[in-house]
């Protein structure tokens, strides 16, 4: 009964709507367009003939009915309460062609004969235009082009056609022939085939020795070694460390060899996927990273998340230096493999509470840091100091759909994308009012990355009280995650109500090409105190879970993983995740 456009279900019109449209020319709702009134803040759209009109049922004269509909054909207003009486239905039955009406308080089309809401693309476009054109302007950061909402007349079916390249089977060139001959190890040796298949562990599982409080590094490296697009990139020889070092004048491994974290990653991948099961010491990698992040170079324990960010920056920096001009817009991920894999785009809408003016900005991000929900359930309202940022603190305790106060990743994401009233001490400058006003802020995800990394803010640093503490509260996380409700398109839809969105096609193609479903493949956990703790990574390979505790790798049951205290969770797009079969030896 409904067709899909751009992946969104578009409802089919009812027969009455079809007849109405066919009888009333190309713009059957033209007259209504002038009657759309939008009231800031909140931007609700209503239908009024005059701005001060008090709509009233033509039959019973009552204006206090909860549902009033204006007939689109004759503009007469009627009430609709199917249990008591429906003067709107009476009207539609008495005059054929007058079945279609519009809800005067919600600006939504209704078929009185079917008793159901109906949708018309042009009408919904006009409503959304009225809601956005006066109250919204868009700005963007990082030098990318200004994003305009093109609404009227845009054709969502008109997607940009991608240039297709003919398929040619790959042949190694001369350089690759040589390196292949010298350095490669057969994956499946005919002689060792039985040996390989009998070792239960999948490829690429190798312990990493702790070089002195380096579990923060080992845990992240294990996750990255099994990040599917990253693994494929390096194992597919997309960054060859020999060519790279040659290009950069590092000959014979002299001390002046140029720093390249990507080369070190390449070496790490080669070592870990070599088939050798003895624990590996990533000393060279550690040394290179120390050179890159000099302020963190010590044998003290570091934050794994900080290491993760610094590593991605390190890979990016090196590549940036090579390129003369970086033409790629921020967030597109064209600059380096790190961003190609992890970079997404966040959208931030800030709405002035006084005039309704909304300013939208887009920022790239390589991960999403989530706050754990404040006190729930049993412990009462002791942390009400947090209510500045979350006016729902009390409400959270009362919400019926929270299971016994367990925090979930989805709950955190919901809070992340919730519209948040910024406190009166956080007034933001409104371009329209030209003064700082109280604002409403809402985050959403404009473009999903290939791999979503969620970082749980477990370490609280208070500069006021000069102390830090760790939040040990358990967070439940799913093995499969659908990110659709947190996308900008979904958040916008919930803001504007039940509409067909004509400018869906304007939303970046990438978010429509790839699905929104993600699969968990790595979890970095932290146990212990802030200053004396230990990081462990759980990896999901061939649908088995493995615990990577520095040099020790063991297979574990998934219930262990579910119960673990997640600090960073890595999810990959489902289409890129292989649920391999149990038998690996067969080919």
């Amino acid at each position: 009964m409904s067709s899909k456009i751009n992946g969104h279900v578009s409802p089919q019109p009812c027969p009455h709507l079809l007849v109405f449209r066919s009888r009333n020319g190309p713009k059957p709702f033209r007259a209504l367009q002038d009657c759309i009134r939008v009231k800031p803040p909140g931007g609700r759209a209503a239908i009024r003939r005059e701005p001060t009109e008090v709509p009233r049922c033509g039959t019973c004269e009552e204006s206090s009915r909860s549902r009033l509909y204006a007939c689109v054909a004759c503009a007469a207003v009627f009430c609709h309460a199917p249990l008591l009486h429906s003067h709107a239905s009476d009207h539609s039955l008495s005059i054929p062609g007058h079945e279609i009406a519009v809800d005067v308080d919600r600006a939504e089309l209704f078929c009185c004969a079917c008793g159901d809401q109906v949708y018309d693309r042009d009408f919904d476009a006009a409503v959304v235009l009225a809601q956005t054109v006066n109250a919204t302007a868009t700005t963007s950061t990082s030098g990318s082009t200004a994003m305009q909402c093109s609404v009227a007349g845009s054709q969502p079916e008109n997607l940009r056609k991608r240039r297709r390249v003919d398929y040619r089977p790959w042949e190694p060139d001369s350089g690759e022939h040589i390196s292949r001959g010298n350095q490669s190890i057969p994956l499946l040796d005919a002689a060792n085939a039985s040996l390989v298949s009998s070792t239960q562990q999948p490829w690429g599982l190798r312990g990493l020795n702790n070089l002195g409080n380096t579990c923060f590094m080992n845990s992240i490296l294990q996750a990255l070694l099994h990040t599917p697009p990253l693994r494929n990139y390096f194992l597919g020889d997309r960054h060859n460390r020999y060519y790279c070092q040659q290009k950069n004048g590092a000959i014979n491994g002299t001390k002046n060899s140029r720093l390249c974290l990507a080369c070190d990653m390449d070496a790490l991948f080669s070592a870990v996927f070599s088939g050798d099961r003895t624990p590996y010491s990533p000393a060279k990698f550690l040394y290179s990273w120390w050179q890159h992040a000099a302020n963190l170079a010590s044998y003290e324990q570091q934050d794994a998340h900080e290491f993760f960010i610094s590593m991605l920056e390190g890979i990016h920096e090196k590549v940036e230096k090579d390129k003369r001009k970086s033409q790629s817009p921020a967030g597109s991920g064209d600059c380096c493999i790190a961003h190609r894999v992890f970079s997404g785009i966040l959208r931030s809408d800030v709405m002035c509470m006084v005039c309704g003016f909304t300013s939208t900005t887009y920022d790239p991000c390589v991960d999403i840091s989530l706050d754990l929900e404040p006190n729930q359930g049993g412990s009462g309202k002791s942390s009400s100091a947090k209510s500045l940022n979350s006016f729902n603190v009390e409400a959270d305790c009362m919400r019926p759909n929270q299971n016994c106060g367990i925090s979930t990743l989805k709950g955190c994401l919901e809070r992340f994308t919730r519209a948040e009233k910024l406190g009166s001490d956080q007034k933001l400058f409104c371009q329209k009012c030209q003064v700082r006003q109280e604002s409403l802020k809402q985050m959403s995800i404009r473009k999903l990355p290939l791999v979503s990394c969620f970082h749980v803010k477990r370490f609280e640093h208070s500069s006021i009280r000069k102390m830090s503490r760790k939040v040990d509260r358990y967070l439940q996380f799913p093995f499969s995650l659908d990110m659709a409700p947190y996308l900008s398109s979904s958040i916008l839809r919930s803001r504007f109500g039940n509409r067909i969105f004509p400018f869906d096609g304007d939303e970046q193609d990438a978010s429509n090409d790839l699905s929104t479903e993600f699969e968990l493949f790595a979890v970095v956990t932290h146990s212990g105190r802030l200053d004396a703790g230990h990081y462990v990574t759980y990896l999901r390979l061939s649908n088995q879970w493995y615990k990577c505790d520095d040099a020790w790798i063991t297979q574990v049951n998934e219930s262990i993983v579910r119960a673990a205290q997640g600090y960073m969770m890595f999810y990959v797009q489902k289409v890129l995740y292989y649920k391999e079969s149990e038998n690996q030896g067969t080919s």
Binding site: V54, E61, S63, P82, A395, N401
Partner: protein, 111 residues
């Protein structure tokens, strides 16, 4: 008195029959004209979201749609379904707050 539905609305009809508009009507018009109704609606929406009422109603609707099938449910069905439950489950504090607001408004608007 039943009005014939084929006749266009006649604003004079009420006066012809000597009927006074009911008090509810007068109050409603005053609320709308002053813009207070809009403000009250926004406040009510906020309160009903905060206490989880909206989520409850949404869940009820979802369950119903799941049972009946997405293409077999109309808006009227859903309104019929949640109206009694919805009216009954509005928290007393919300009712009290809104009544107080309306009372205050009426006192200030009384001429």
């Amino acid at each position: 008195m039943k009005h014939s539905v084929n006749r266009p609305p006649t604003p004079d009809a009420a006066e012809d029959q000597g009927k006074e508009p009911p008090l509810q009507e007068i109050i409603n018009v005053k609320l709308i004209e002053s813009g207070e109704k809009e403000r009250l609606m926004e406040l009510l929406r906020e309160r009903l979201i905060d206490c989880g009422w909206k989520d409850e109603m949404k869940a009820l609707c979802r369950a119903h749609v799941k049972k009946k099938g997405r293409n077999n449910v109309t808006v009227d069905d859903l309104v019929h379904l949640i109206t009694p439950k919805g009216r009954a489950s509005v928290p007393d504090s919300v009712k009290a707050e809104l009544l107080q607001r309306i009372r205050t408004f009426l006192m200030s608007a009384a001429l």
